[in-house]
Structures are given as C-alpha cells and as structure tokens.
C-alpha cells in the first residue's frame, strides 16, 4: 500500500517548484481583488512617506549626526528599507503565527509531507513589500546620486551582497521573535518590540553607548541590517572587521532562527479539537 511514497529525496529544486506554484497563485488571487491590492500598495507608500518626513524633519534641525550627514543617513535609511523587503515578501506569515497557534490551526501544517517551516511561509506572499521596495529603491538612487557614488559592476555586486546579507538578519529576527509564540501566549508583543528595535537599524551604531552597541551587534544584531554593510559602499566611510563578517554571520543567524522556529514547531502539540 506504499503507492504514493516519495521515491526521491526532496531537494531544493522540488521546494522551489512548489513554492513558485503556490506564490504565483497567491499573487494572482491577490491581484484579482484589485481595490485591495491598490490600497495595500499605496498604503505602504504613504506609511513609508510619513516615516521619511519624520526623518527629514530631524535633519532640518541637525545637519549631522556623529559625522554622518543628511545624504549618508538617507543612504542608510533606504538600505534598511530595501533589506526588509524579502522578509516582507516571503516571511510575512510570521505575523499570523500567534493566531494560528491560539486557534489550533497550526496543526494543519504538520500533516503534509513538507518541511513545516517551508509550508507555513509559502502560504502568504506579503504583497505590501512591493510599496516598500519601490520607495526604498527610489530613495537609494536619490541618495546614491546625491553622494556622487560611482556606478560600476563591482559596486553593484557589492551592493547586492550587502543587501542580501542584511536581509538575512531582517528575516532571522522576524523568525526568532515569531517563534516565541510557540512558547509564550502573547508572542505578538515580542514581534512588535523587535519590529520597533529594527527602526534603529537606520542609524549609525556609533550614536549608541557601549552597552547598546554590544547588544545591537551581538544580541539583536540590527547594526548588521544597514550600518556595517554600508561602510563598504560609502566612499566617506572605512569598513571595519565586522563589515566583512556580515554575510557569514547573516547566514549563521538565519540558520539559527530556522532551527529555533522548527524546534518550536516540534514542541507544539496543538489544542484539542
């Protein structure tokens, strides 16, 4: 009776294929609710715009923060926005985790012959990341031109690596804070708090005192979400040792967050039904 057992090992290709199918269907169905789609898109632009205005007001009053001028700060700001996009796109379902656990709906993710983390995340494509992406890229280009940074193949590759590494931190932090929902009843608060912390990613780490600098580097590593990787890209700044550590540390942190999330999922037994 073993007629449908899986013959081959399920590799990356299998998961990519399934993922593409689910996500493309999800986007298609989301676009079919046009009003919803447009509201979400422009809502996200508006939200980013209001954040930007607050940022702009600060710099009207302080032309420099710790040796960082307006354009450099704008660069950090745009960088952190773009680095958040993959977390918004592909790991948005983390926000629904508490709900899924409280209602017991999470159990359904355990019944398919798929990796639970994969299956759970594949279910939602966070379309609001699109507004963020558009706004972030626009701001980055503006800052890039303003800073008169060079445009070469090498620096584009560097930028992409830096963004990719930073996004791993964004994703990992979200995974970790969402995973608390497996152990505590109100993990959503943890998610909101770390989300607030993430806002500090757009400031140079040097503005913080010693203790916070250690915390933001090694405990809640938001300094890697824009500051450290940007040092390599900006002409006016000198990269430090941690800048080059960003990709490796990012991968480790992401892997760790995945392990913790999975441990939580295994720990979970669901409410009775």
């Amino acid at each position: 009776m073993d007629n449908t057992s899986i013959k081959r090992k399920r590799g990356l290709r299998f998961y990519l294929r399934i993922y593409f199918k689910i996500i493309s269907q999800d986007i298609k169905s989301k676009m079919s609710y046009r009003a919803d789609f447009i509201t979400t898109f422009f809502g996200m632009i508006a939200l980013n715009l209001s954040g930007f205005i607050a940022f702009w007001v600060i710099f009207k009053n302080f032309p420099q923060i710790n040796g960082w001028d307006y354009r450099e700060m704008l660069f950090l700001y745009a960088f952190s926005l773009i680095a958040l996009v993959p977390a918004e796109f592909f790991f948005d379902n983390n926000w629904n985790l508490q709900q899924a656990i409280v209602t017991g709906d999470f159990i359904k993710y355990c019944f398919k012959p798929l990796n639970i983390f994969f299956y759970y995340m594949s279910e939602v494509f966070g379309i609001r990341g699109l507004g963020q992406l558009v706004f972030g890229v626009g701001t980055l280009i503006y800052a890039w031109v303003g800073l008169a940074l060079p445009v070469s193949f090498l620096i584009i590759v560097k930028l992409l690596i830096a963004l990719f590494s930073a996004s791993l931190f964004m994703i990992a932090l979200r995974n970790l804070s969402a995973a608390t929902c497996f152990w505590i009843i109100n993990g959503l608060h943890v998610m909101n708090i770390t989300n607030k912390f993430r806002d500090y990613a757009r400031y140079p780490i040097t503005i913080f005192g010693g203790v916070f600098r250690v915390i933001f580097t090694f405990v809640i590593p938001i300094a890697f979400m824009a500051y450290y990787p940007s040092l390599e890209l900006l002409d006016t700044k000198q990269p430090v040792f941690l800048t080059y550590l960003t990709p490796i540390y990012g991968i480790i942190f992401f892997w760790l967050s995945y392990k913790v999330w999975m441990k939580g999922a295994m720990n979970y037994s669901g409410t009775g039904s």
Partner: protein
C-alpha cells in the same frame, strides 16, 4: 498485516499545578510543581486495510492525542506505533505522504486559491502521476458535481462545499489511511448524508482505511462496522458496532402512561410529561417482569417499549455507567 498498529501506547503530559490567586501565581513563577496527565494510557489496537473504524470518546478523552501520534506530530511517551509500515514520529514527512487528514472545521486547502489550483499543488506535493491524478479526478466527477467548484476559491465556499472539497483533497493521493476528525460537524442533514455516502464510496473504491472521530452517532451508524472507544486515556471498547449493545447490556426503555407515582427497585425512572420512562438491562430485569408487576398496582393507560440507540449507549458510557 495491519495498516495501523498501536502497541501499549501511552502519552503523558507534564502540566503545571496552578495555585490560586495572585500570590499563588507569583509562587508558580518560581517553584514549578508539575503533575502528570495521562492523555493516553496503554492503548493497543490494530486496524486492517480497508476498515472504517469509529474512534469515539467524550471531549478530552485522548482522541486528538491519539491522532497526533498516528500522524507523527506527537511523540509517544512509551509504546510502539506503526502506520502503513512506518514509525510516524521517526519519519513524519514519509508517513504524511501516505496518509490523508481532514479536520472538520479547519480547511487544509489554500484559502484564496480556486479548488483546481489547490488540487494541482497537491498533485506536485504528493508526486501524483499524471495518470493517477486524471483517474482520481474522473472518479470524483462521477461522484459529485465538481465542475462548478473548480474555479471557486475556498474562502467563497459554503461549509458543506468546503468539507466536501477537503475530503476529496485528503483522498487525492490515494493514501493508505485517512483520518477524518468530525467530518460532518455543523452541516445540515442533507449534506451530512451526502458526505457520509462519499466517504463510504471512497473507502470502497480504493480499499482505503478510514479512522473516524466524531460526536455524531449518525456518522457511526452510517459508516462504521467497528468502534473503538477511549475514555480518560484508556481504551474501554474495541469491537463491532452491533456488539456494542450486548457488551454494555441489552438496555431497553419501557414507557408507560399513568397518573400514579411509580417506584421500582434497581431501575432508573424518569417522568417526561405524561410518560414514565423506565430504563432497564434486559438480562438482569426483563421488561415484561416490570410491566406485570406494575400492572397489578397501577392503572396504566398505554405502553411503549423502545430499544436503546447507539447514541444512548454511548451517552451512558461517557457518563460512566456500564463499566
């Protein structure tokens, strides 16, 4: 060889003994005083391929825990489990490839996708060959009117349609075992009948083993030849549905119409408007004997004798009688 086998399986949970009040809550923070709850305690049973087994028990009896252990979601504290030749908790994904699960109130389909897209994704997930997939869809179309549902997103479906589609999705990869958890909950009578018929047919066509948990005895009467009952983690019955009444005694209800106060030794008597209901175990106290005795001393205007239903037997079991 049995398709599902439980050998002396137990699942114990450690639960914090909560103290009362604010001070108690503070104490809980520091000293953790656990007690062990035996959700499932030494349960053994085996299910042969093609059987439909009704797995019954009151709320909190350990049904969900059993199902979770069968599907590899929960690790048993002790004992051996095998599902279609595999140990579920050792290899959850491989076990999952060969089982189907339906949870009555929780759709496992993609909420925003049209049904046919969900089916296509399931085809990929379970690695169903093009040929088997077409065959199964042809079967489905011959059983229910699927055409209008194909393009409908699950979120726009009625509960009945959703349940129907969930059941079809669970059988799509032709699994060896399907777990149905309250498949007819919340449905109207006509839809219940339709779902039961569908389950029955799907069981027959591919000889699929079905384990059904339900609180609706109609499901049991319509589908299950065999019943397993669990209560407080302990298995208390495992036999055919017909034998249930024998095992728990041949209960009959004698209804008499009278204005008098009725008392009789060692039987339960309830008054329901003008009818007096006397429930008795036939082998201990025959109905006829009671009737004859009562006739001598009371004026009886009408009588009725009713066989006890499965529902009433189960109710008695849940209430703790007959054990």
């Amino acid at each position: 060889m049995p398709i599902v086998e439980f050998k002396n399986v137990s699942k114990h949970f450690k639960v914090l003994n909560r103290r009362e009040g604010l001070v108690g809550g503070l104490k809980d923070l520091f000293s953790r005083d656990y007690k062990t709850v035996k959700a499932v305690d030494g349960v053994s049973f085996s299910v042969e391929a093609g059987e439909i087994v009704g797995y019954l028990g009151p709320n909190g009896a350990g049904k969900s825990t059993t199902i979770k252990m069968m599907t590899g979601v929960l690790l048993p504290t002790s004992g051996d489990i095998s599902v279609s030749g595999r140990v579920p908790y050792k290899d959850r994904t491989k076990t999952a490839a060969n089982i189907g699960v339906v949870f009555g109130q929780r759709s496992q389909l993609w909420w925003s996708l049209p049904l046919i897209e969900s089916f296509k994704i399931l085809r990929d997930i379970y690695d169903i060959s093009q040929e088997d997939y077409a065959k199964q869809l042809a079967l489905y179309e011959s059983l229910v009117d699927l055409e209008p549902l194909y393009s409908k997103p699950v979120r726009e479906m009625s509960l009945g349609q959703r349940t129907l589609c969930d059941i079809l999705a669970a059988f799509l990869h032709n699994p060896a075992v399907v777990f149905l958890d309250e498949p007819t909950i919340g449905l109207d009578v006509a839809m219940k009948a339709k779902i039961r018929e569908l389950i029955h047919t799907l069981n027959r066509v591919n000889n699929t083993t079905i384990i059904l948990t339900t609180h609706d005895i109609g499901d049991v009467d319509a589908l299950c030849r065999r019943i397993v009952i669990i209560d407080k983690g302990v298995m208390i019955y495992d036999d055919s549905a017909e034998n249930l009444s024998k095992f728990f005694g041949q209960y009959r209800t004698l209804k008499i119409k009278t204005d008098d106060e009725i008392t009789y030794e060692s039987v339960t008597i309830t008054r329901n408007e003008e009818w007096v209901e006397i429930v008795t175990k036939e082998d201990e106290m025959p109905v006829m004997e009671i009737l004859q005795a009562l006739q001598k001393s009371h004026k009886i205007s009408d009588i009725r004798i009713e066989e006890i239903t499965t529902e009433e037997i189960i109710k008695k079991i849940y209430a703790g009688d007959g054990r």
